[in-house]
Protein backbone atom coordinates (compact mmCIF):
# COMPACT_ATOMS: atom_id res chain seq x y z
CA UNK A 1 0.00 0.00 0.00
CA UNK A 2 1.25 3.47 -0.77
CA UNK A 3 0.58 6.43 1.49
CA UNK A 4 -2.53 7.52 -0.36
CA UNK A 5 -4.00 4.03 -0.27
CA UNK A 6 -3.22 3.80 3.43
CA UNK A 7 -4.98 7.08 4.13
CA UNK A 8 -8.01 6.10 2.08
CA UNK A 9 -8.11 2.71 3.79
CA UNK A 10 -7.94 4.31 7.23
CA UNK A 11 -10.58 6.87 6.32
CA UNK A 12 -13.02 4.27 5.12
CA UNK A 13 -12.33 1.95 8.06
CA UNK A 14 -13.88 4.38 10.52
CA UNK A 15 -17.60 4.51 11.13
CA UNK A 16 -17.62 8.29 11.38
CA UNK A 17 -16.79 8.36 7.68
CA UNK A 18 -20.13 6.79 6.94
CA UNK A 19 -22.13 9.40 8.87
CA UNK A 20 -22.14 11.58 5.79
CA UNK A 21 -23.18 8.74 3.52
CA UNK A 22 -25.90 7.61 5.92
CA UNK A 23 -27.19 11.14 6.37
CA UNK A 24 -27.26 11.80 2.65
CA UNK A 25 -28.98 8.49 1.92
CA UNK A 26 -31.61 9.27 4.52
CA UNK A 27 -32.20 12.81 3.29
CA UNK A 28 -32.36 11.78 -0.35
CA UNK A 29 -34.78 8.92 0.32
CA UNK A 30 -36.98 11.08 2.56
CA UNK A 31 -36.98 14.00 0.13
CA UNK A 32 -37.78 11.89 -2.88
CA UNK A 33 -40.55 9.97 -1.15
CA UNK A 34 -42.11 13.19 0.17
CA UNK A 35 -41.78 14.79 -3.26
CA UNK A 36 -43.42 11.78 -4.82
CA UNK A 37 -46.34 12.15 -2.42
CA UNK A 38 -46.62 15.92 -2.91
CA UNK A 39 -45.72 16.07 -6.57
CA UNK A 40 -48.76 18.13 -7.60
CA UNK A 41 -48.21 20.74 -4.90
CA UNK A 42 -44.53 21.05 -5.75
CA UNK A 43 -45.26 21.38 -9.44
CA UNK A 44 -47.85 24.06 -8.85
CA UNK A 45 -45.56 26.03 -6.61
CA UNK A 46 -42.65 25.67 -8.96
CA UNK A 47 -44.54 26.51 -12.13
CA UNK A 48 -46.89 29.12 -10.71
CA UNK A 49 -45.45 31.99 -12.67
CA UNK A 50 -45.02 30.02 -15.86
CA UNK A 51 -48.51 28.60 -15.75
CA UNK A 52 -49.99 32.07 -15.98
CA UNK A 53 -48.75 32.32 -19.55
CA UNK A 54 -48.00 28.79 -20.68
CA UNK A 55 -49.55 25.40 -20.91
CA UNK A 56 -46.94 22.94 -19.70
CA UNK A 57 -46.81 19.39 -20.98
CA UNK A 58 -44.45 16.54 -20.16
CA UNK A 59 -42.79 15.07 -17.11
CA UNK A 60 -41.46 18.19 -15.38
CA UNK A 61 -41.04 16.54 -12.00
CA UNK A 62 -38.60 13.91 -13.22
CA UNK A 63 -35.50 12.31 -11.74
CA UNK A 64 -33.18 14.97 -13.13
CA UNK A 65 -35.27 17.77 -11.70
CA UNK A 66 -35.33 16.03 -8.31
CA UNK A 67 -31.55 15.68 -8.45
CA UNK A 68 -31.08 19.38 -9.17
CA UNK A 69 -33.63 20.26 -6.49
CA UNK A 70 -31.87 18.21 -3.81
CA UNK A 71 -28.47 19.47 -4.86
CA UNK A 72 -29.77 23.00 -4.65
CA UNK A 73 -31.11 22.35 -1.17
CA UNK A 74 -28.13 20.43 0.13
CA UNK A 75 -25.14 22.25 -1.29
CA UNK A 76 -25.11 24.42 1.81
CA UNK A 77 -25.22 21.41 4.12
CA UNK A 78 -22.75 19.07 2.47
CA UNK A 79 -19.84 21.22 3.73
CA UNK A 80 -20.71 20.23 7.26
CA UNK A 81 -20.53 16.56 6.35
CA UNK A 82 -17.22 17.09 4.60
CA UNK A 83 -15.69 18.60 7.73
CA UNK A 84 -16.42 15.46 9.75
CA UNK A 85 -13.59 13.74 7.97
CA UNK A 86 -11.52 16.63 6.64
CA UNK A 87 -11.33 18.25 10.06
CA UNK A 88 -10.34 15.00 11.68
CA UNK A 89 -7.92 13.42 9.26
CA UNK A 90 -4.75 15.02 10.63
CA UNK A 91 -5.79 15.97 14.15
CA UNK A 92 -7.07 12.48 14.96
CA UNK A 93 -3.54 11.15 14.54
CA UNK A 94 -2.47 13.54 17.30
CA UNK A 95 -5.45 12.66 19.48
CA UNK A 96 -4.87 8.94 19.18
CA UNK A 97 -1.08 9.21 19.39
CA UNK A 98 -0.56 7.35 16.13
CA UNK A 99 1.20 10.41 14.76
CA UNK A 100 4.22 9.32 16.82
CA UNK A 101 4.43 6.09 14.87
CA UNK A 102 3.49 7.60 11.55
CA UNK A 103 5.99 10.44 11.46
CA UNK A 104 9.01 8.43 12.53
CA UNK A 105 8.82 6.30 9.41
CA UNK A 106 10.75 7.12 6.22
CA UNK A 107 8.04 9.02 4.34
CA UNK A 108 8.51 12.74 4.79
CA UNK A 109 5.93 14.91 6.47
CA UNK A 110 5.25 16.51 3.10
CA UNK A 111 4.43 13.10 1.65
CA UNK A 112 2.25 12.20 4.62
CA UNK A 113 0.33 15.47 4.56
CA UNK A 114 -0.08 15.34 0.78
CA UNK A 115 -1.44 11.80 0.99
CA UNK A 116 -3.84 12.89 3.69
CA UNK A 117 -4.97 15.86 1.64
CA UNK A 118 -5.54 13.67 -1.40
CA UNK A 119 -7.49 11.23 0.76
CA UNK A 120 -9.59 14.15 2.01
CA UNK A 121 -10.33 15.19 -1.56
CA UNK A 122 -11.10 11.57 -2.40
CA UNK A 123 -13.59 11.42 0.46
CA UNK A 124 -15.08 14.74 -0.61
CA UNK A 125 -15.52 13.44 -4.12
CA UNK A 126 -16.98 10.19 -2.81
CA UNK A 127 -19.60 12.07 -0.77
CA UNK A 128 -20.67 14.23 -3.71
CA UNK A 129 -20.67 11.29 -6.14
CA UNK A 130 -22.67 9.24 -3.66
CA UNK A 131 -25.19 12.06 -3.40
CA UNK A 132 -25.38 12.27 -7.18
CA UNK A 133 -25.84 8.55 -7.67
CA UNK A 134 -28.44 8.36 -4.92
CA UNK A 135 -30.42 11.29 -6.29
CA UNK A 136 -30.26 10.24 -9.91
CA UNK A 137 -30.87 6.52 -9.42
CA UNK A 138 -33.71 6.91 -6.97
CA UNK A 139 -35.06 9.91 -8.86
CA UNK A 140 -35.18 8.09 -12.17
CA UNK A 141 -36.77 5.04 -10.53
CA UNK A 142 -39.44 7.06 -8.71
CA UNK A 143 -40.02 9.91 -11.15
CA UNK A 144 -38.75 8.74 -14.52
CA UNK A 145 -36.66 10.71 -16.98
CA UNK A 146 -37.34 13.80 -19.04
CA UNK A 147 -36.07 17.24 -19.90
CA UNK A 148 -34.75 19.31 -17.04
CA UNK A 149 -36.45 22.51 -16.01
CA UNK A 150 -34.21 24.54 -13.74
CA UNK A 151 -36.16 27.12 -11.83
CA UNK A 152 -33.79 29.87 -10.69
CA UNK A 153 -36.33 31.40 -8.37
CA UNK A 154 -34.12 34.15 -7.02
CA UNK A 155 -33.25 35.33 -10.51
CA UNK A 156 -36.71 34.60 -11.88
CA UNK A 157 -35.38 32.47 -14.66
CA UNK A 158 -36.38 29.13 -15.99
CA UNK A 159 -33.88 27.13 -17.96
CA UNK A 160 -34.89 24.23 -20.11
CA UNK A 161 -32.31 21.53 -20.78
CA UNK A 162 -33.13 18.78 -23.26
CA UNK A 163 -32.93 15.24 -21.90
CA UNK A 164 -30.13 14.27 -24.25
CA UNK A 165 -27.83 16.93 -22.79
CA UNK A 166 -28.57 16.18 -19.15
CA UNK A 167 -26.16 13.29 -18.38
CA UNK A 168 -23.16 15.31 -19.55
CA UNK A 169 -24.40 18.46 -17.82
CA UNK A 170 -25.01 16.53 -14.60
CA UNK A 171 -21.54 15.01 -14.79
CA UNK A 172 -20.06 18.49 -15.17
CA UNK A 173 -22.28 19.87 -12.40
CA UNK A 174 -21.24 17.18 -9.94
CA UNK A 175 -17.60 17.61 -10.91
CA UNK A 176 -18.00 21.31 -10.19
CA UNK A 177 -19.70 20.49 -6.89
CA UNK A 178 -16.69 18.37 -5.93
CA UNK A 179 -14.48 21.28 -6.95
CA UNK A 180 -16.31 23.72 -4.70
CA UNK A 181 -16.56 21.28 -1.80
CA UNK A 182 -12.79 20.83 -2.06
CA UNK A 183 -12.41 24.38 -0.72
CA UNK A 184 -14.42 23.52 2.38
CA UNK A 185 -12.38 20.35 2.75
CA UNK A 186 -9.19 22.40 2.41
CA UNK A 187 -10.26 24.80 5.16
CA UNK A 188 -11.09 21.93 7.50
CA UNK A 189 -7.85 20.23 6.54
CA UNK A 190 -5.80 23.31 7.36
CA UNK A 191 -7.52 23.64 10.73
CA UNK A 192 -6.90 19.94 11.29
CA UNK A 193 -3.15 20.39 10.86
CA UNK A 194 -3.18 23.20 13.41
CA UNK A 195 -5.19 21.36 16.05
CA UNK A 196 -4.60 18.38 18.30
CA UNK A 197 -8.27 17.44 18.44
CA UNK A 198 -11.06 17.12 15.92
CA UNK A 199 -13.78 19.30 17.42
CA UNK A 200 -11.93 22.56 16.83
CA UNK A 201 -11.39 22.09 13.10
CA UNK A 202 -14.97 20.94 12.53
CA UNK A 203 -16.53 23.83 14.44
CA UNK A 204 -14.00 26.30 13.02
CA UNK A 205 -14.78 25.30 9.45
CA UNK A 206 -18.51 25.46 10.05
CA UNK A 207 -18.08 28.93 11.51
CA UNK A 208 -16.09 30.14 8.50
CA UNK A 209 -18.59 28.72 6.01
CA UNK A 210 -21.60 30.15 7.88
CA UNK A 211 -20.05 33.59 8.29
CA UNK A 212 -19.10 33.74 4.62
CA UNK A 213 -22.57 32.62 3.55
CA UNK A 214 -24.22 35.20 5.78
CA UNK A 215 -21.95 38.00 4.56
CA UNK A 216 -22.57 36.94 0.97
CA UNK A 217 -26.35 37.11 1.40
CA UNK A 218 -26.77 40.38 3.28
CA UNK A 219 -28.70 42.78 1.04
CA UNK A 220 -26.48 45.74 1.79
CA UNK A 221 -24.09 47.45 -0.59
CA UNK A 222 -21.08 47.02 1.67
CA UNK A 223 -21.47 43.24 1.81
CA UNK A 224 -22.47 43.04 -1.84
CA UNK A 225 -19.13 44.63 -2.73
CA UNK A 226 -17.39 41.82 -0.87
CA UNK A 227 -19.40 39.05 -2.48
CA UNK A 228 -17.16 38.39 -5.51
CA UNK A 229 -14.22 37.75 -3.20
CA UNK A 230 -15.94 35.21 -0.99
CA UNK A 231 -15.34 31.57 -1.84
CA UNK A 232 -18.93 30.83 -0.87
CA UNK A 233 -20.09 33.00 -3.77
CA UNK A 234 -18.33 30.67 -6.17
CA UNK A 235 -19.51 27.49 -4.51
CA UNK A 236 -22.64 27.40 -6.64
CA UNK A 237 -20.44 26.94 -9.71
CA UNK A 238 -22.19 23.61 -10.25
CA UNK A 239 -25.47 25.39 -11.03
CA UNK A 240 -23.87 27.13 -13.98
CA UNK A 241 -23.57 23.85 -15.84
CA UNK A 242 -27.35 23.66 -15.68
CA UNK A 243 -27.78 27.05 -17.29
CA UNK A 244 -28.31 27.97 -20.93
CA UNK A 245 -26.03 28.87 -22.49
CA UNK A 246 -23.35 27.49 -20.18
CA UNK A 247 -21.47 30.57 -18.93
CA UNK A 248 -17.99 29.18 -19.47
CA UNK A 249 -16.20 32.40 -18.60
CA UNK A 250 -17.91 32.65 -15.23
CA UNK A 251 -17.24 28.99 -14.63
CA UNK A 252 -13.57 29.39 -15.43
CA UNK A 253 -13.27 32.40 -13.13
CA UNK A 254 -15.04 30.62 -10.28
CA UNK A 255 -13.06 27.42 -10.83
CA UNK A 256 -9.81 29.38 -10.80
CA UNK A 257 -10.76 31.23 -7.61
CA UNK A 258 -11.76 27.99 -5.90
CA UNK A 259 -8.58 26.27 -7.07
CA UNK A 260 -6.53 29.16 -5.79
CA UNK A 261 -8.19 28.79 -2.40
CA UNK A 262 -7.38 25.08 -2.35
CA UNK A 263 -3.76 25.65 -3.34
CA UNK A 264 -3.18 28.41 -0.79
CA UNK A 265 -4.92 26.53 2.02
CA UNK A 266 -2.99 23.34 1.30
CA UNK A 267 0.29 25.23 0.98
CA UNK A 268 -0.25 26.79 4.42
CA UNK A 269 -1.15 23.38 5.85
CA UNK A 270 1.99 21.90 4.32
CA UNK A 271 4.28 24.62 5.64
CA UNK A 272 2.72 24.51 9.09
CA UNK A 273 2.88 20.74 9.33
CA UNK A 274 6.45 20.46 8.09
CA UNK A 275 7.61 22.69 10.92
CA UNK A 276 5.22 21.49 13.57
CA UNK A 277 6.62 20.03 16.78
CA UNK A 278 4.84 16.81 17.65
CA UNK A 279 4.39 17.01 21.38
CA UNK A 280 1.33 14.83 21.79
Amino acid sequence: MNLFQIEVYKTFSRWRTYIAFGFLALIVILTEVVMKLSAREILERMMRSMQKDFLIFGNVLNGWFITAFIMNSLHLHIPFLITLVAGDIVSSEATSGTVRLLLVRPPSRSAVITAKYLATLFYTAAVVIFLGIMCIMLGLILFGSGDLIMNYATQFRIVFIPETEIPLRMFLAFTAAIWSMAVVASIAFLFSTLAENSIGPIIGTMAVVIVFFVIGNFPFDFFRALTPYLFTTHMNIWQRFLDTPIPWRQIMVSAAILALHCIVLFAIALIVYRRKDIKS
Binding site: S13, R100, V104, I278
Partner: protein
Protein backbone atom coordinates in the same frame (compact mmCIF):
# COMPACT_ATOMS: atom_id res chain seq x y z
CA UNK B 1 29.69 19.35 32.75
CA UNK B 2 29.51 15.66 32.27
CA UNK B 3 31.59 12.64 32.97
CA UNK B 4 32.63 10.68 29.91
CA UNK B 5 33.86 7.12 29.94
CA UNK B 6 35.59 6.71 26.62
CA UNK B 7 36.00 2.97 27.04
CA UNK B 8 32.58 2.66 25.45
CA UNK B 9 31.07 -0.79 25.25
CA UNK B 10 30.09 -2.69 28.34
CA UNK B 11 30.49 -6.19 29.48
CA UNK B 12 27.53 -7.62 27.62
CA UNK B 13 28.82 -6.61 24.23
CA UNK B 14 30.91 -9.00 22.19
CA UNK B 15 34.61 -8.41 21.74
CA UNK B 16 34.32 -7.86 18.00
CA UNK B 17 31.79 -5.10 18.63
CA UNK B 18 34.10 -3.38 21.06
CA UNK B 19 36.80 -3.54 18.46
CA UNK B 20 34.68 -1.88 15.77
CA UNK B 21 33.24 0.97 17.86
CA UNK B 22 31.14 2.13 14.92
CA UNK B 23 29.02 5.08 15.99
CA UNK B 24 25.48 4.67 14.73
CA UNK B 25 23.99 7.65 16.52
CA UNK B 26 25.75 10.87 17.35
CA UNK B 27 24.20 14.08 18.57
CA UNK B 28 26.23 17.25 18.79
CA UNK B 29 25.12 20.17 20.92
CA UNK B 30 21.54 19.05 20.53
CA UNK B 31 19.05 21.33 22.25
CA UNK B 32 15.38 22.14 22.25
CA UNK B 33 13.79 25.23 23.68
CA UNK B 34 10.07 25.69 24.26
CA UNK B 35 9.58 29.40 24.78
CA UNK B 36 12.12 30.45 27.37
CA UNK B 37 12.59 26.97 28.78
CA UNK B 38 15.23 24.57 27.52
CA UNK B 39 13.76 21.07 27.63
CA UNK B 40 17.10 19.63 26.51
CA UNK B 41 20.39 21.38 26.09
CA UNK B 42 23.76 20.50 24.67
CA UNK B 43 23.07 16.79 24.38
CA UNK B 44 26.07 14.93 22.97
CA UNK B 45 25.18 11.28 22.66
CA UNK B 46 27.27 8.59 21.10
CA UNK B 47 25.67 5.20 20.52
CA UNK B 48 27.77 2.40 19.07
CA UNK B 49 26.59 -0.44 16.88
CA UNK B 50 25.38 -3.35 19.00
CA UNK B 51 24.85 -1.26 22.11
CA UNK B 52 21.85 -1.60 24.31
CA UNK B 53 22.08 2.05 25.20
CA UNK B 54 19.99 3.31 28.10
CA UNK B 55 19.11 6.98 28.33
CA UNK B 56 18.51 7.35 32.03
CA UNK B 57 16.86 10.21 33.81
CA UNK B 58 13.93 11.06 36.04
CA UNK B 59 10.58 12.08 34.63
CA UNK B 60 10.80 15.48 32.95
CA UNK B 61 14.57 15.28 32.55
CA UNK B 62 14.43 15.72 28.76
CA UNK B 63 14.68 12.09 27.63
CA UNK B 64 11.52 12.15 25.51
CA UNK B 65 12.40 15.52 24.04
CA UNK B 66 15.77 14.17 22.95
CA UNK B 67 14.27 11.01 21.50
CA UNK B 68 11.62 13.04 19.67
CA UNK B 69 14.38 15.12 18.10
CA UNK B 70 16.25 11.98 17.09
CA UNK B 71 13.06 10.64 15.50
CA UNK B 72 12.26 13.98 13.78
CA UNK B 73 9.10 14.59 15.78
CA UNK B 74 10.62 17.77 17.17
CA UNK B 75 12.81 20.20 15.29
CA UNK B 76 16.01 20.87 17.26
CA UNK B 77 16.65 24.43 18.33
CA UNK B 78 20.38 23.81 18.30
CA UNK B 79 22.79 21.10 17.29
CA UNK B 80 22.80 18.25 14.83
CA UNK B 81 22.02 14.56 14.67
CA UNK B 82 23.97 11.97 12.73
CA UNK B 83 22.68 8.45 12.30
CA UNK B 84 24.76 5.83 10.48
CA UNK B 85 27.15 8.65 9.67
CA UNK B 86 24.51 10.61 7.80
CA UNK B 87 22.94 13.91 8.72
CA UNK B 88 19.43 13.07 9.86
CA UNK B 89 17.68 16.06 8.41
CA UNK B 90 19.49 15.94 5.09
CA UNK B 91 18.94 12.21 4.57
CA UNK B 92 15.91 11.63 6.72
CA UNK B 93 14.16 9.04 4.61
CA UNK B 94 17.22 6.88 4.10
CA UNK B 95 18.19 7.09 7.77
CA UNK B 96 14.73 6.39 9.14
CA UNK B 97 14.30 3.39 6.86
CA UNK B 98 17.04 1.77 8.99
CA UNK B 99 15.62 2.89 12.33
CA UNK B 100 12.49 2.02 14.19
CA UNK B 101 11.23 4.23 16.97
CA UNK B 102 8.46 4.01 19.49
CA UNK B 103 7.89 7.19 21.46
CA UNK B 104 6.18 6.85 24.83
CA UNK B 105 3.66 4.10 24.14
CA UNK B 106 2.96 2.58 20.78
CA UNK B 107 -0.45 3.93 19.81
CA UNK B 108 -1.99 2.03 16.98
CA UNK B 109 -5.17 2.56 15.02
CA UNK B 110 -7.62 1.08 17.48
CA UNK B 111 -10.27 0.53 14.85
CA UNK B 112 -7.96 -1.70 12.79
CA UNK B 113 -6.70 -5.20 13.48
CA UNK B 114 -3.18 -5.93 14.69
CA UNK B 115 -2.43 -7.40 11.28
CA UNK B 116 -3.65 -4.34 9.41
CA UNK B 117 -1.75 -2.00 11.72
CA UNK B 118 1.47 -3.88 11.05
CA UNK B 119 0.75 -3.93 7.35
CA UNK B 120 0.23 -0.17 7.35
CA UNK B 121 3.22 0.79 9.46
CA UNK B 122 5.42 -1.83 7.84
CA UNK B 123 4.60 -0.68 4.34
CA UNK B 124 5.75 2.82 5.25
CA UNK B 125 9.28 1.41 5.18
CA UNK B 126 9.18 -1.34 2.59
CA UNK B 127 6.93 -3.91 0.95
CA UNK B 128 5.85 -6.38 3.63
CA UNK B 129 4.52 -9.87 2.98
CA UNK B 130 1.74 -11.51 4.92
CA UNK B 131 4.15 -14.18 6.16
CA UNK B 132 6.45 -11.54 7.59
CA UNK B 133 3.58 -9.94 9.48
CA UNK B 134 2.46 -13.25 10.94
CA UNK B 135 6.04 -14.15 11.87
CA UNK B 136 6.51 -10.85 13.71
CA UNK B 137 3.25 -11.37 15.55
CA UNK B 138 4.34 -14.90 16.41
CA UNK B 139 7.62 -13.67 17.91
CA UNK B 140 5.81 -11.30 20.28
CA UNK B 141 3.14 -13.88 21.09
CA UNK B 142 0.26 -12.14 19.34
CA UNK B 143 -0.26 -14.45 16.39
CA UNK B 144 -3.55 -15.72 17.75
CA UNK B 145 -4.81 -12.12 18.06
CA UNK B 146 -3.68 -11.06 14.59
CA UNK B 147 -7.15 -10.28 13.35
CA UNK B 148 -8.53 -8.76 16.52
CA UNK B 149 -8.96 -5.02 16.63
CA UNK B 150 -6.26 -3.27 18.63
CA UNK B 151 -8.89 -1.58 20.79
CA UNK B 152 -9.34 -4.95 22.50
CA UNK B 153 -5.62 -5.16 23.43
CA UNK B 154 -4.13 -4.50 26.86
CA UNK B 155 -1.32 -2.00 27.31
CA UNK B 156 1.22 -4.81 27.43
CA UNK B 157 -0.09 -6.32 24.24
CA UNK B 158 0.18 -2.95 22.53
CA UNK B 159 3.80 -2.69 23.69
CA UNK B 160 4.50 -6.11 22.23
CA UNK B 161 2.72 -5.11 19.05
CA UNK B 162 5.01 -2.09 18.94
CA UNK B 163 8.00 -4.37 19.11
CA UNK B 164 6.49 -6.60 16.43
CA UNK B 165 6.25 -3.50 14.28
CA UNK B 166 9.92 -2.85 14.98
CA UNK B 167 10.82 -6.43 14.05
CA UNK B 168 8.86 -6.23 10.87
CA UNK B 169 10.93 -3.51 9.31
CA UNK B 170 14.21 -5.18 10.37
CA UNK B 171 15.83 -1.95 11.47
CA UNK B 172 19.49 -1.65 12.39
CA UNK B 173 18.62 0.50 15.35
CA UNK B 174 15.54 0.54 17.49
CA UNK B 175 14.66 3.52 19.66
CA UNK B 176 12.26 2.97 22.53
CA UNK B 177 10.98 5.66 24.85
CA UNK B 178 10.19 4.21 28.29
CA UNK B 179 9.13 0.84 26.85
CA UNK B 180 8.20 -0.64 30.22
CA UNK B 181 6.28 2.37 31.54
CA UNK B 182 2.85 1.44 32.81
CA UNK B 183 3.40 -2.30 32.52
CA UNK B 184 2.89 -4.83 35.27
CA UNK B 185 5.97 -6.82 36.43
CA UNK B 186 5.22 -9.64 34.02
CA UNK B 187 4.81 -7.21 31.15
CA UNK B 188 8.05 -5.47 32.06
CA UNK B 189 9.86 -8.78 32.10
CA UNK B 190 8.49 -9.75 28.69
CA UNK B 191 9.49 -6.44 27.15
CA UNK B 192 13.00 -6.65 28.62
CA UNK B 193 13.36 -10.14 27.23
CA UNK B 194 12.28 -8.89 23.83
CA UNK B 195 14.82 -6.07 24.02
CA UNK B 196 17.57 -8.50 24.89
CA UNK B 197 16.45 -10.73 22.06
CA UNK B 198 16.49 -7.82 19.58
CA UNK B 199 20.03 -7.04 20.59
CA UNK B 200 21.49 -10.49 20.95
CA UNK B 201 19.61 -12.51 18.35
CA UNK B 202 18.72 -9.88 15.77
CA UNK B 203 21.90 -7.86 16.23
CA UNK B 204 20.03 -4.58 16.53
CA UNK B 205 21.36 -1.55 18.30
CA UNK B 206 18.86 -0.59 20.97
CA UNK B 207 18.50 2.92 22.30
CA UNK B 208 16.00 3.18 25.10
CA UNK B 209 15.06 5.72 27.68
CA UNK B 210 14.07 4.85 31.20
CA UNK B 211 13.81 6.32 34.64
CA UNK B 212 14.45 2.91 36.23
CA UNK B 213 18.02 2.29 37.26
CA UNK B 214 17.30 -1.42 37.66
CA UNK B 215 16.25 -1.56 34.03
CA UNK B 216 19.61 -0.14 33.03
CA UNK B 217 21.41 -2.78 35.03
CA UNK B 218 19.26 -5.54 33.58
CA UNK B 219 19.50 -4.75 29.88
CA UNK B 220 22.00 -2.01 29.06
CA UNK B 221 25.59 -2.14 27.92
CA UNK B 222 26.10 1.62 27.70
CA UNK B 223 24.22 4.49 29.13
CA UNK B 224 23.83 8.23 29.33
CA UNK B 225 22.35 10.14 32.20
CA UNK B 226 20.24 13.25 31.79
CA UNK B 227 18.77 15.54 34.41
CA UNK B 228 17.09 18.93 34.13
CA UNK B 229 17.59 18.83 30.37
CA UNK B 230 21.33 18.41 30.56
CA UNK B 231 23.39 15.32 30.03
CA UNK B 232 25.52 14.62 33.06
CA UNK B 233 27.24 11.36 32.21
CA UNK B 234 27.81 8.87 29.44
CA UNK B 235 29.71 5.62 29.34
CA UNK B 236 29.56 1.88 29.89
CA UNK B 237 27.10 0.64 32.48
CA UNK B 238 29.85 -1.25 34.29
CA UNK B 239 31.89 1.85 34.78
CA UNK B 240 29.12 4.26 35.60
CA UNK B 241 27.44 1.99 38.11
CA UNK B 242 30.71 0.92 39.69
CA UNK B 243 30.96 2.31 43.23
CA UNK B 244 33.54 1.97 45.97
CA UNK B 245 30.85 1.10 48.45
CA UNK B 246 27.46 -0.26 47.62
CA UNK B 247 24.37 -1.21 49.54
CA UNK B 248 22.98 -4.71 49.13
CA UNK B 249 19.72 -6.30 50.19
CA UNK B 250 20.18 -9.69 51.82
CA UNK B 251 17.64 -12.44 52.57
CA UNK B 252 19.17 -15.13 54.72
CA UNK B 253 18.22 -17.74 57.30
CA UNK B 254 18.58 -17.78 60.19
CA UNK B 255 18.66 -13.99 60.16
CA UNK B 256 19.70 -13.49 63.79
CA UNK B 257 22.74 -15.76 63.42
CA UNK B 258 23.72 -14.08 60.19
CA UNK B 259 23.44 -10.62 61.75
CA UNK B 260 25.54 -11.74 64.72
CA UNK B 261 28.19 -13.17 62.39
CA UNK B 262 28.27 -10.08 60.20
CA UNK B 263 28.55 -7.81 63.23
CA UNK B 264 31.89 -9.42 63.80
CA UNK B 265 33.16 -8.27 60.40
CA UNK B 266 34.76 -4.83 60.47
CA UNK B 267 34.22 -4.24 56.72
CA UNK B 268 30.47 -4.76 56.87
CA UNK B 269 28.08 -2.00 57.95
CA UNK B 270 24.65 -3.37 58.83
CA UNK B 271 21.51 -1.37 58.19
CA UNK B 272 18.18 -2.28 59.76
CA UNK B 273 15.35 -3.61 57.62
CA UNK B 274 11.95 -4.44 58.98
CA UNK B 275 10.91 -6.99 56.35
CA UNK B 276 12.80 -10.04 57.61
CA UNK B 277 15.77 -9.04 55.50
CA UNK B 278 18.73 -6.89 56.11
CA UNK B 279 20.87 -4.45 54.26
CA UNK B 280 24.58 -4.27 54.32
CA UNK B 281 27.01 -1.64 53.06
CA UNK B 282 30.29 -3.10 51.83
CA UNK B 283 33.02 -2.43 49.31
CA UNK B 284 31.72 -3.48 45.86
CA UNK B 285 34.57 -5.92 45.38
CA UNK B 286 33.84 -7.86 48.58
CA UNK B 287 30.26 -9.00 47.77
CA UNK B 288 31.28 -12.52 46.83
CA UNK B 289 33.51 -12.73 49.92
CA UNK B 290 30.55 -11.94 52.18
CA UNK B 291 28.35 -14.57 50.53
CA UNK B 292 31.09 -17.17 50.83
CA UNK B 293 31.55 -16.23 54.50
CA UNK B 294 27.84 -16.69 55.26
CA UNK B 295 27.56 -20.01 53.41
CA UNK B 296 30.62 -21.36 55.20
CA UNK B 297 28.84 -20.59 58.50
CA UNK B 298 25.77 -22.61 57.44
CA UNK B 299 23.69 -19.57 56.66
CA UNK B 300 21.27 -20.09 53.81
CA UNK B 301 21.43 -17.17 51.34
CA UNK B 302 18.16 -16.76 49.44
CA UNK B 303 18.92 -13.48 47.73
CA UNK B 304 21.70 -10.94 47.53
CA UNK B 305 21.38 -7.97 45.23
CA UNK B 306 22.56 -4.40 45.00
CA UNK B 307 20.11 -1.89 46.36
CA UNK B 308 20.41 1.42 44.63
CA UNK B 309 17.98 4.26 44.03
CA UNK B 310 18.12 6.67 41.14
CA UNK B 311 18.46 9.48 43.65
CA UNK B 312 21.51 7.76 45.20
CA UNK B 313 22.94 7.29 41.76
CA UNK B 314 22.41 10.89 40.75
CA UNK B 315 23.91 12.02 44.04
CA UNK B 316 26.92 9.86 43.39
CA UNK B 317 27.30 11.05 39.82
CA UNK B 318 26.90 14.66 40.89
CA UNK B 319 29.46 14.22 43.63
CA UNK B 320 31.76 12.72 41.06
CA UNK B 321 31.31 15.70 38.80
CA UNK B 322 32.00 18.18 41.59
CA UNK B 323 35.16 16.27 42.44
CA UNK B 324 36.28 16.53 38.85
Amino acid sequence: MKREHPSGAGTKTGTHRRMKQETVLRTSGLGKRFGARWAARDINLEVHRGDVFCFLGPNGAGKSTTIRMILTLLLPTTGSIEIFGKDLHAERSDVLSRVCGIVEKPDFYLYLTAYKNLEIFGSLTRRISSDEIMEALDIVGLKSRAFDKVKTFSHGMKQRLGIAQALLTTPEMIILDEPTAGLDPQGMKEVRELITMLSQEKGMTVFLSTHLLSEVELVATRMAVINHGEMIAQGSVAELLEQEQAEYSLRVSPLKTAVKLMNGLSWVVLRPDEKGATRVRIDSGRASELIRFLVMHDIEVFSFYPHRTLEDFFLKITEGISEI
